[in-house]
């Protein structure tokens, strides 16, 4: 699923030259605070039994609080795909407002 998200979105980086990956500082400042909030949510959800991961279908590397490696990557890769998507829309619709124009 993570592979599909990478394949489905990262081509935008090259075709539309959205330049998300080279703006690492802005990426980190946008993704990491949100990732922390959602990892806490994820931890709470697993601890409360809201959802379960199939142990046979994860690579088996677990971080703090028993959160699988895939879940950490999820909170990096999915938001990265989101940033590429909004920047790709900007590349196609140059006259639209995005809120950070000068």
């Amino acid at each position: 699923m993570l592979g599909f998200t990478v394949v489905g979105s990262f081509w935008l980086e090259f075709i539309f030259k959205v330049g998300v990956l080279r703006r690492l500082k802005r990426v980190a400042l946008s993704i990491l605070p949100v990732a922390v909030i959602f990892l806490i949510w994820d931890y709470y959800a697993v601890a409360s039994g809201h959802w379960f991961f199939d142990e046979k279908q994860v690579v088996g590397i677990y971080g703090p609080a028993g959160v699988p490696l895939e879940e950490f990557l999820f909170f990096i890769i999915v938001p990265l795909a989101a940033l590429m998507t909004i920047e790709a829309v900007r590349a196609v619709k140059k006259h639209w407002k995005f809120g950070d124009e000068q």
């Binding site: 998200t5 802005r26 949100v34 199939d54 989101a82 809120g99």
Partner: protein, 101 residues
């Protein structure tokens, strides 16, 4: 709190964060909703994959039971909240002059 309550709460938090926290106001712009529509399409595919193959399972008492593409409807709110907060921050830093281009 159940997943349903958390998902709705975080959706509200994300919208308030965008309007009054970062003041990016992306939820008022068609540029954001256009991008969200694209992402929603792909989320439905990945949700279906993760849920129908049993990679993720959900507790019946934590969700309403309403499902779209095999996954609980709550997942769409979870995704919306995460994506909205991330893009709202991205626009906020851009407006501040952090790596504008």
């Amino acid at each position: 709190m159940t997943y349903t309550q958390l998902a709705l709460t975080m959706t509200l938090v994300a919208i308030l964060f965008d309007l009054y926290g970062t003041r990016s106001k992306i939820v008022t712009r068609k540029s954001f909703w256009n991008a969200y529509g694209i992402m929603l399409f792909f989320q439905l595919i990945t949700n279906w994959w993760l849920t129908s193959r049993g990679i993720l399972t959900y507790a019946d008492d934590a969700i309403t039971g309403m499902r779209i593409a095999a996954a609980p409807v709550e997942d769409l709110f979870f995704g919306f909240a995460m994506i909205t907060m991330t893009i709202s921050l991205w626009i906020y830093w851009g407006k501040k002059g952090v790596q504008r281009n």
